[in-house]
Symmetry: C2
Subunit: 217 residues, 2 copies
């Protein structure tokens, strides 16, 4: 038997991992569409291409599976969307964040939707994650306040500025269906990421009194 995390992996362990990933993917898809209570284990199993009983062999319960994928999302986001590395350059920090966040939203909209769903429900499963999330937000708060103090950007409400960036970037995943209608795009045509990024970047750079020139990529 092989411990997960070991460098070598037997064929069976690989297969097991693959199945688990398939399940996670299917769960994200289904939970994003219909929420926790609106998703049946049957639907998840079907979406994963396995039987319901087989699914229940791999998971302990629907709620637990939900908690697991939610935790994975929070963890992944914490690593990807981190404003601190570019503290020295506000324009770079902001445009980098927006670029990453929007590309992620367009590429993995279900992840964003699942998260939005959880928050919309009152975030009952987020209790254990608030601490770390609040922490990074307050770190970013400090960075922004520092920018203001040093006269690098115009004064903004640090928290609301962050929340508004989140809202705009996130919305292109959540409101994809609406965006497609308004843009006359069918479901197969990808949305124009560059166009969206350009407008969003302008929006937040100008709020800070920074040049509207495209700064990043």
């Amino acid at each position: 038997m092989n411990e997960p995390g070991k460098r070598t992996m037997t064929a069976s362990a690989q297969k097991r991992r693959k199945i688990r990933d398939t399940i996670s993917g299917a769960a994200i898809r289904e939970f994003a569409r219909n929420g926790l209570s609106g998703t049946s284990t049957q639907a998840i199993a079907q979406s994963a291409g396995i039987t319901k009983a087989q699914l229940h062999y791999y998971i302990s319960s629907k709620e637990e599976l939900y908690r697991q994928v939610l935790g994975d999302i929070v963890k992944e986001w914490r690593e990807i969307f981190f404003i601190a590395p570019f503290q020295h350059d506000p324009a770079l920090a902001i445009s980098t964040y927006i670029d990453r966040k929007i590309r992620h939203a367009l590429k993995y909209p279900d992840i964003s939707r699942l998260f939005a769903n959880e928050i919309g429900r009152g975030a009952p499963e987020m209790r254990e994650h608030w601490g770390v999330l609040k922490n990074s937000t307050e770190m970013a708060n400090g960075v922004i306040r520092d920018w203001i103090a040093k006269g690098m950007i115009q004064p903004v409400d640090p928290l609301l500025f962050q929340m508004n960036m989140w809202a705009v970037t996130q919305s292109y995943a959540e409101y994809e269906a609406q965006a497609r209608v308004l843009m006359d795009l069918d479901d197969d045509t990808p949305m124009n990421a560059d166009r969206i990024i350009a407008e969003a970047t302008q929006l937040f750079l100008l709020r800070c009194g920074l040049s509207g020139e495209r700064v990043f990529r």
Copy 2:
């Protein structure tokens, strides 16, 4: 028997209307939290303070009730959030829109959440509403383009500018739970509407190159 819509209303008709409103309110609450498939008629009935059988006496089906409240929301929004009346003054038009929209989001967050949920699911019940919604969006598009042509505002992507306003204003309903955590607010304390409106207004006025002064109210 009394037709609905007549000026006079018998006591029984009034009672019937009151029950229907109670049901709509309960439905919005429950659908907002758990979506269409995640909400049971039992839960709606309980939230409305009636029995399940009684609920089914007033509605034809869960889906139909969902369609009804969704239709009501779309209709109400079309009346409330209309940018055209202030065409002559971009700053006034924008700040009025943001003010109204955010106050509505903070006052009736469930309505915003129900709508967000529907769009997140792929908006399967929005087919009949897209036409009129697209229309008003394109009217506003024209207004904004006109502003740009006349040099009243800096160039913006008209559609994305609207979508971003929508995203920011909407988010304070959808992400209320998160906002409360980040702001250290308990569930009873109302959020500071003026603060939110001020930052959002600045954001979008500055994008247009308009003075950051508070223009409205």
